[in-house]
Symmetry: C2
Subunit: 317 residues, 2 copies
Amino acid sequence: MSSCWSCAGPSLLVLLSRLCVVLVNFMCFENFEVKEKVIDTAGLLGSSSGLAVVDCSASSETVEILMQAIDLGCCVVLANKKPLTCKIDDYEKLISKFRHIRYESTVGAGLPVIASITRVLASGDPIFRIIGSLSGTLGYVMSELEDGKLFSQVVNAAKGLGYTEPDPRDDLGGMDVARKALILARLLGWRINLDELKVESLYPNELGPSSMSTEEFLTRGLQSLDSYMADKVRGASLKGNVLRYVCVIEGSRCHVGLQELPKDSPLGRLRGSDNVIEIYSRCYKNSPLVIQGAGAGNDTTAAGVLADIIDLQDLFL
Amino acid sequence: MSSCWSCAGPSLLVLLSRLCVVLVNFMCFENFEVKEKVIDTAGLLGSSSGLAVVDCSASSETVEILMQAIDLGCCVVLANKKPLTCKIDDYEKLISKFRHIRYESTVGAGLPVIASITRVLASGDPIFRIIGSLSGTLGYVMSELEDGKLFSQVVNAAKGLGYTEPDPRDDLGGMDVARKALILARLLGWRINLDELKVESLYPNELGPSSMSTEEFLTRGLQSLDSYMADKVRGASLKGNVLRYVCVIEGSRCHVGLQELPKDSPLGRLRGSDNVIEIYSRCYKNSPLVIQGAGAGNDTTAAGVLADIIDLQDLFL
């Protein structure tokens, strides 16, 4: 049953014992009639038996309908990062009823990252640092580079394994990780926008989509970065460190990019495509709270969405 | 504020915005008048504005009052493992309204172990294996042994650091870990009792409290175990493994004791007194969902209790 939640298939209306669920897809936001139907349903069920509107699209056009749903007393569950990374004012309207919105699958898929951070904050334990490897693709790339392989070779292998987007620059640019970092920073109460994050891209502008095709990038473009990346990996290794592509939220800094980390830290030990996040707070000061596991894939994303929906039922007991 | 939750101080009645909280201590179960007052309060507030009864004692005598509170519509929050490890019939009565009871701090203190397992199960993702190092004390002992130190030396050092109970046999016997294992097994739906678990003690009966004093055990008793433990550690090391004191819940087996584990697994890499748990399910099949961090201490235990209370407020929104 769970696999249907991650797809962008037809809209669904599901009846749970105490809560109705409507799964909206991209069509809902393009087709005026469908959109009206969703809003009608939201108005009808939102404040009575309860309705959860589930957005598993990858669209930035859904914020408006989601805000309307919240206003009508509905709950919202998101696998879609875009509504949470919109301008801060819209974000604050969207999360104005904080317990009515859940979005576990936006960071680390089904890994209990949002739920755990929410628990730590709820207990009054202040979080002063988060550092995480939140891209399975870039995690895989960085741990393969550690073994002395060439950047071009590793990225092409990752593409072959289906780990990357069709154009790997969509991963290498870091914007997907930046969106996750922004979601976490805002969860900590930071009033910032996406354009205020420092995001390091693993390819320069000259190798961007406006300058060359995917095919060209995968051959000629990537090869021109091999020696630069090998130098960086070697530099880290000489200090007993490894290179990781991470998000860091600390002090007044929200940064996404390459960082040298101790080999024997949870992030340094990371191999393959797992996600890992280290959370430092008053309770987890010297030794962080660490969550690790598969952070991508249809199954885990779907599981996260489903757990969010079940969790929301507490509001309607 | 949070530190008060972990102590066994006077009873407290706390008013949150939407939920009252009564913190009961051991006195409530010994003093008939106090007990009646708690039940009166439960009857008055349980099904109206909501009341959470919080048990931070270490008593096995609290089950009855907790079951009464649940029957009266109250919620229950536990840091006390005993009510959850009573006979299965009482346990099932206690958790009959599953969303009205929270007990994060019973396993791994504030670490989001119960919350994460509950989420995985709620998503319909079947868990087929749990393995964890759930005693900070035994985690510390096992990782120190790895460095070639003697068992007697390590246990005495752990006692000196305040890591053990006043009589370290209370840790070395494994019953505290067994209670945590039982709580997890029951969370997975296993209908078992504490006496059905296989529990390996790190000291033989001849060195038990009925045979010798704590003082004698710490000197003479422990020393007699040094060569046995050193042999076991060496045996594991020769196979590239390390020795860990773990709970394993898998198939039809719920076992607590020593196990050889690969050096490069999350459990094998564990150093110091952190807890770590690996959860294997359909979604986390080859690479487990791992949660790691401080699993003991007043602050983290209190934080777990407080997060549970805040979480329960969803039932009264």
